[in-house]
Symmetry: C4
Amino acid sequence: MKATWRVMLAICAGLLVLPQAHAQTPAAPPSGGDTALIEDIVIGSRILAEFGVLDGFGHVSARDPKNPNHFLMSRSLAPALVSADDIMEFDLDGNAIDPRGRSLFLERFIHSEIYKARPDVMSVVHTHSPGVIPFGVSQVPLRAMFHNAAFLAAGTPVWDIRKDFGETDMLVRDPARGKSLAQVLGDKPVVLMRGHGDVAVGPSVKMAVFRAYYTDVDARLQSQAVALGGEVNYLTPAEGAKADAINAAVIDRIWNLWKMRVAATLAK
Amino acid sequence: MKATWRVMLAICAGLLVLPQAHAQTPAAPPSGGDTALIEDIVIGSRILAEFGVLDGFGHVSARDPKNPNHFLMSRSLAPALVSADDIMEFDLDGNAIDPRGRSLFLERFIHSEIYKARPDVMSVVHTHSPGVIPFGVSQVPLRAMFHNAAFLAAGTPVWDIRKDFGETDMLVRDPARGKSLAQVLGDKPVVLMRGHGDVAVGPSVKMAVFRAYYTDVDARLQSQAVALGGEVNYLTPAEGAKADAINAAVIDRIWNLWKMRVAATLAK
Amino acid sequence: MKATWRVMLAICAGLLVLPQAHAQTPAAPPSGGDTALIEDIVIGSRILAEFGVLDGFGHVSARDPKNPNHFLMSRSLAPALVSADDIMEFDLDGNAIDPRGRSLFLERFIHSEIYKARPDVMSVVHTHSPGVIPFGVSQVPLRAMFHNAAFLAAGTPVWDIRKDFGETDMLVRDPARGKSLAQVLGDKPVVLMRGHGDVAVGPSVKMAVFRAYYTDVDARLQSQAVALGGEVNYLTPAEGAKADAINAAVIDRIWNLWKMRVAATLAK
Amino acid sequence: MKATWRVMLAICAGLLVLPQAHAQTPAAPPSGGDTALIEDIVIGSRILAEFGVLDGFGHVSARDPKNPNHFLMSRSLAPALVSADDIMEFDLDGNAIDPRGRSLFLERFIHSEIYKARPDVMSVVHTHSPGVIPFGVSQVPLRAMFHNAAFLAAGTPVWDIRKDFGETDMLVRDPARGKSLAQVLGDKPVVLMRGHGDVAVGPSVKMAVFRAYYTDVDARLQSQAVALGGEVNYLTPAEGAKADAINAAVIDRIWNLWKMRVAATLAK
């Protein structure tokens, strides 16, 4: 629903109206910037907003393949409004390379510390995914219900900020909290955050977005299966590993569909 | 969904069509009126309608900062249709300052009595929020599931009109019922009303609307967590207090997104 | 959502496209026809389709106030597509007064027999309301969760076609089945039909549509309340009776909102 | 929701924009092709995408009535994007008759093996229907809740790929897996696939699509009924057989409604 009216504005009026994003003074692209990669971040942010995995909060980032010690991420902005001009470059301590006085996401340390701990990770997505939040505060672990969410069969750890940091404002607002979160994530693709949301990671923006999306879908399906009562026949870890390889192979089929849905909101 | 077709009407036809609202003879703004504040009431009403927190019923009000013994609120009208011209001024006994023969909300005493009892409250929102109604008739208290709903960690009292007034029509249709409700609200940000809905209050229209919205989201999340079975690890009151301070700091990020969604329905 | 694209077609292209409905040769209005009443049937059908209370099946009828032994109802057509030209007149045995070779709803006997048994009823709505179907096959009775559904506090009987007719095709396809259903409805505003849907009746099309809508809402809310576990504090019959009188008084507020949503689909 | 913005693009801009589908070089229609049948496959794919029964994955096929040993199915493409040009012809071993270097669905053997085993089946639909997946991993069998899903009263077997093939990637990627699935389907209209989705079959594309749709609706309704607790009064097999005959008789009423919703996305 979310992108619909913006599409309409653009098409019917013959021009695009995205006031908040475009009110920004256009800036030079991030020094290590890569146009296709920035587009993936923008499209991925808008896809997750379109489908309600993100609301006004949450963020998508990508490691810079030319400089693996830097990553790209929007200035502080609702993901549905992120445009290429909003993407900034950060180092692995969460410092903006060219801050230009812009507001930054308080929780950019989720990204910086995971990139530091996980050289294989090329993209990080943080959401307050409504399907998933119940599993972050429950004793019932999130598990893989079907092959599109096969990556969950590897196990889904829950990070409780209170364990290391006591009673906080719940935010990953410094490197220490980010490091603690990255440790609980371990080598997994998804970590749940108690009373907050989750983080999905992947070898590309497409895969991290796909995982954030299907983690939400899977959680809703598991809730329904648990409510039916009795044993639930989840994917085994071996099934999950095999099925996840297929997801990587067919991802363009759904990514292209998603992209068409949100692309019109970006036309100049 | 709700605003979509109105946006389309406006854009495609090149003019805005809001017949019911505009059929009203335009009137002078409320004597103590403040354009930005009135806009917040209008935008807030339409946001909550857009997201299904309000349907054809419910209302958003604001205390007049220049005259704290008055408050601003629409004439009786579905919140999705409220425009600036519909906003009227009331005293703290619920009397319209300039009634002009308009229909008034029967339940304006929810607002008047809360403004009387709570000098800190600058805005009041009353909804029949579908996520929340089940908690108003359940023995399970509504609690804070995640940081965006941190304000609920302070506790969510339930007002049962039957306790003081016996078997009624359920409506807060006089000052005595409003006073009873305000007493149960106490110093909290949200009170549930058995068999009816809820009231969220805040230091600004934005915050009251934010709270009404996330109260609904939180209730749906808690329903899912409870249905999973076992203990649920809610936010503690100390976590809630800290996290709610952050919500106040980042509210413009989501308010601006919401405002863009509904702003086109208001263009002249 | 359902009406949205049709609104757009009409507005953007500058003409209305409702091929199926308009392919019909326009006919004289029903002999006892009343333009405003026919409009209410059309609007009511489209409202319930817009909100998912009706899908491709179900129907809205009205008793002819000038000839109480006749009622008005569409030819067999999906409710989202019903236009004034589709409305036909029937007697209380379910015979079309001027059949013109049109397909008729198999289940028109739901309407004819209820009008026969209940002189107070001026409108009948039959739906496969998704919120309600679970209560038609459950041992848990549907009850009034909040004041907008106050009419349910009078009790909601369930009609099981198997009791009188054995194993059937589940349809009310003759006067005997309609009479059996009307007997179980008794003097209530709503009756559930096991494995099928429900029927809501009222003193006007607006009230019958309002009741069909809020019966669905209430059922969804009750499902959530029951799932929380423990006692649920429903409206009492006395509260229900008082609150329902208010619904009748404020119905135009929501009806006018709903009508605006679907009116554009009807423009010529 | 899904088709809405594409409708708008087409209407407002006066031309149709379906880049991915139209980027394909138009090809001769399948040798045994039948224009009306191909249209049904296209419309059926888009209907199921429109209503969320299909997301980016899943497929609709039809047996060629002129050559019952061949069937028609899209090249590998998200169902919301399928156009007539994408439809290809296959033999019952899953070989494309005229491959033209196109990507094929890995799981076309679901279709080929069911056509081989079931001469009565003229159409096959495979979905990851979100309502149904929980029943594929649960011990609670999916049953018929109401007359529109009467075909489920015949029983809904669950195929667990692990039983015959051990820990796999979950996909029906070869004839042996398809044959095993077809054996579990037996003479039923629907088979669930553990950790994956379901398959609905029928004597026509309309009926297979109708069944895929109402299988999803029914599953959601049953989940709600089970959650209420206590016995659920399902349709009996005899009721199901009788009611399903009616569905076949009235299917055009809902098919025509659905078709109108998606037809504009196909205009040239």
